[in-house]
């Protein structure tokens, strides 16, 4: 290999490390950071500036990796709650600040011209050593990627990316995962940046700039968001393309942009996903080995009591002075016309929303389903259940309880609507909740499926769970529930034996007075 080819090979390794760092942030944690170029730049500046102040090479390299880690983790700590474009633009602002500092703090950074590197240790002064350094950084980045995925769990991360609200309800700590992802990503990026600076022997604001971010975007979006191997291959291609297209000069970067657009349109998961899809049938044929079944009662007795709950949205009072007490082994039905405040009440009870006034006393773990099935479409049924942190045994037992073991390996998006409802219930059951909350789980179910749902809920209550079900289908509930509560316009208007509640004149007026109510959904 010629010296120049070795030089390009080292540059590709550095880019691969930076790109894999961004895969951790965007591919695994789902956070669109636009500061991946900055992470590389920080590493590059650290490796060149610190030895000038007398730091040994090894220590400077450690700082090039750990410095960006700390800065990115601390920064993300401040902005961890921001979603989508807020997060993206906050990171872009951070990256712009870095460019401004690098360009203007001339005494330290050398300004727009940058700095030349002092000679490194003699044993590293060869093209081969630089290649080893850069690809070592890429491999370290890949190790960080798989370590991160292993630590936080592939299923949990998928749920966090695709259904953030459900992830929150299941106690997945989105903020912590983001802080960790940005820190890990910056570690990989810092190493890549150090390798880049070491290879070219100088650093300038160029490496911090959006140009680096654009190259990383090209590598990850085209190659695939969750494949370090694809990032390595694409980094090689991206590094060599300008050489092949040298006759195009500057314009080869335009080609990146066009290719990016085409991939976002046609292969949104990147080229590696196309390869994976071609090989997927083989993987599924291996099948799933069910672990021995285990009884699925609640982990501990649960109870729920709320007094004087109020929730206002601006001038609208969605929940007005609601009190309720639910006990273990009982099924309670919550009914009421549309807009009565039922879902708001569930959100308050589960902690997704804060009451304006009132107290909630909850004992035992809580499990809930959502009005719209909030499942990760690409994960299999078993993976969806396991995404909540349930053990394989409990996940399997939960699938068994709802009758879905035969579909354990089927992606959630391939399940029929009714089966998706049951999968949601299995997911709630797998956490062995003391309190089980169901939001319109019978909507869209056939008569047979409703019978099956009633059996599942009776079994859960029989095992000691406290069950609260929100539904429109009053006849179904009358046969199922031990206790019924009717809400209208935020107030509880009737409570007690289901047959008594359904004959209560106030309840009948509330329903008939609300002609928009869907009644029993078809």
């Amino acid at each position: 290999m010629s010296g120049y080819s070795l030089h390009l090979l080292a540059l590709a390794g550095a880019l691969a490390a930076g790109a894999i760092g961004w895969q951790i942030v965007f591919g695994l944690a789902g956070a669109l950071s636009l500061a991946a170029g900055m992470a590389m730049g920080l590493g590059a500046y650290a490796l060149i500036i610190l030895p000038m102040s007398g730091w040994p090479f090894g220590l400077a390299l450690a700082a090039a990796a750990l410095g960006p880690t700390l800065i990115f983790a601390a920064f993300t700590g401040i902005i961890r709650r921001l979603e989508s474009h807020y997060f993206a633009l906050a990171t872009l602002a951070l990256a712009e600040i870095a460019v401004i500092i690098a360009t203007n703090w001339e005494t330290v950074t050398g300004g727009a011209n940058g700095l030349l590197m002092m000679p490194g240790p003699a044993w590293l002064n060869s093209a081969e050593a630089r290649v080893a350094f850069a690809w070592g950084a890429a491999l370290a980045a890949a190790a960080a990627f798989y370590g991160f995925q292993q630590y936080f769990g592939r299923e949990q991360l998928t749920l966090l990316r695709t259904e953030p609200l459900a992830a929150r309800a299941f106690g997945i700590k989105a903020g912590q995962i983001r802080v960790a992802a940005m820190g890990m990503g910056a570690l990989a990026g810092g190493l890549g940046g150090a390798a880049h600076a070491f290879t070219v022997g100088l650093v300038s604001p160029d490496v911090l700039s959006f140009k680096t971010m654009a190259a990383i975007l090209a590598v990850v979006i085209i190659g695939g968001r969750r494949s370090p191997l694809a990032a390595m291959i694409l980094a090689l291609l991206v590094t060599w393309t300008p050489e092949w297209l040298r006759f195009l000069e500057q314009t080869y970067l335009i080609a990146y942009g066009i290719l990016l657009l085409l991939v976002v349109w046609l292969a949104p998961e990147g080229l590696s996903a196309l390869v994976a899809r071609a090989t997927r049938p083989l993987r599924r044929a291996r099948g799933l080995k069910p672990p021995p079944l285990e009884a699925l009662g609640p982990a501990d007795k649960g109870g729920l009591a709320a007094t004087g709950l109020v929730r206002r949205f601006g001038g609208v009072t969605a929940v007005a002075n609601v009190s309720l007490a639910l006990s273990p082994g009982e099924i309670t039905a919550l009914i009421g016309p549309n807009g009565a405040g039922k879902s708001t009440l569930l959100n308050l009870v589960t902690g997704l929303d804060q009451p304006s006034a009132g107290d909630i006393h909850l004992t035992g773990r809580i499990g809930r389903t959502f009005q719209t099935a909030a499942l990760a479409p690409d994960l299999s049924a078993l993976e969806n259940v396991r995404a909540t942190g349930a053990s394989a045994k409990h996940a399997w037992a939960a699938l068994h309880a709802v009758g879905l073991t035969a579909d354990a390996g089927t992606p959630a998006s391939h399940l029929a609507q009714g089966a998706q409802r049951f999968l949601e219930i299995a997911r709630a059951l797998a956490a062995r909740p003391g309190v089980l909350l169901l939001d319109e789980s019978a909507a869209g179910l056939s008569a047979d499926e409703r019978q099956h749902l009633a059996q599942v809920l009776r079994a859960a209550a029989g095992a000691g769970a406290t069950v609260l079900i929100v539904e429109h289908d009053v006849p179904f509930l009358s046969a199922l529930a031990d206790h019924m509560i009717c809400m209208s316009e935020g107030h509880v208007i009737a409570s007690g034996d289901p047959n008594a509640v359904t004959r209560d004149p106030a309840v009948i007026t509330a329903y008939l007075g609300a002609p928009l109510d869907r009644g029993t959904p078809a």
């Binding site: 965007f26 669109l32 920064f75 401040i78 902005i79 709650r81 921001l82 979603e83 989508s84 474009h85 807020y86 993206a88 633009l89 906050a90 872009l92 602002a93 951070l94 712009e96 600040i97 401004i100 500092i101 360009t103 203007n104 953030p164 609200l165 700039s209 959006f210 654009a214 975007l217 979006i221 000069e249 500057q250 314009t251 970067l253 335009i254 990146y256 942009g257 066009i258 990016l260 657009l261 976002v264 349109w265 949104p268």
Partner: protein
């Protein structure tokens, strides 16, 4: 107030007119299509370069500005057609990345065609008037007038007109709006085109006063975004006030310390604002924070 302060105030207002126009287009696309256009800054820069090219062909100031507005509208349409319309049912990051991809094409296309050095289009009007101690260039006065008209027009469109109400309904709940017979997609694409035209005006005005480089888009979009966020999403008139405040901060900061320090402080302040008051200074958040 001394002479220097008054002059700074005027310069800041003129710069604020440019930022305000950028932020206005940004807010319009958000309010009437529910879209965040990550290529908005690059569209403004590209329109400014179209004006530069027009000047190179011997066109005068007003003609080149007209050319830039047309280019902005066409680019706005292209962004809608390439990055937003085909991807709007996908996870929202897909539209962001597609728009960023368009930005990469524009940045590098401009660098290839014009080089990386700063360029300025011909001024729409040259000269100016001395009012007391303050020199008011005609160009700056044109900027202020254009921005004022654009703000009042967009505000009236959204708040007062039937078309504006339909646009807002389409952005807030596209499915319900479509069920009521509102042509959601067409309205959104129209909003992108108008936003692009506004970016074109902003680009040509900003570049004439302060030069542009092919990569200035990131700074432009950040300033538009800072103004829109500080004002509270999609609130039109507070956005103008925020844009002027940003420009004054930048102008006065540049005079007292340096432009770099002022800009860095502005971005740092923006991050702090986002972290502690994402709904903006002015009011409730309109954007989704899933």
């Amino acid at each position: 107030m001394d002479a220097l302060s008054l002059q700074l105030l005027f310069n800041g207002l003129a710069l604020g007119a440019g930022y305000g126009l950028l932020a206005l287009g940004f807010a319009l696309a958000l309010r009437s299509a529910g879209a965040i256009n990550f290529a908005h800054g690059d569209v403004a820069v590209a329109a400014a370069y179209v004006a530069v090219a027009g000047g190179g062909l011997g066109l005068g100031g007003p003609a080149t500005a007209g050319l830039a507005i047309a280019a902005g509208a066409i680019l706005g349409l292209s962004v809608a057609g390439l990055s937003w319309a085909p991807l709007r049912k996908r996870p929202i990051e897909a539209t962001f990345i597609a728009a960023i991809a368009i930005g990469i094409v524009l940045q590098n296309g401009l660098t290839a065609a014009f080089g990386g050095a700063p360029k300025a289009p011909t001024q729409i009007v040259s000269g100016g008037a001395q009012v007391g101690t303050v020199f008011m260039s005609w160009q700056a006065l044109v900027s202020l007038t254009a921005a004022s008209i654009a703000f009042i027009a967009v505000w009236a469109l959204l708040a007062k007109s039937h078309l504006g109400r339909r646009m807002r309904a389409a952005a807030e709940d596209p499915e319900i709006a479509a069920a009521f017979g509102i042509p959601v997609l067409r309205l959104a694409i129209l909003a992108f085109a108008v936003a692009g035209a506004l970016a074109g005006v902003a680009g040509v005005l900003l570049a004439a006063q302060h030069y542009a480089t092919p990569t200035a888009g990131a700074d432009y979009i950040l300033k538009a975004y800072v103004a829109a966020t500080a004002a509270g999403w999609g609130r039109i008139l507070p956005t103008a006030a925020a844009a002027v405040a940003i420009a004054l901060f930048e102008t006065i900061g540049a005079a007292i310390v340096s432009h770099a320090v002022a800009e860095a402080l502005l971005y740092a302040g923006f991050v702090v604002l986002l972290a502690f008051r994402p709904q903006g200074i002015g009011g409730e958040a309109k954007g989704k924070r899933a």
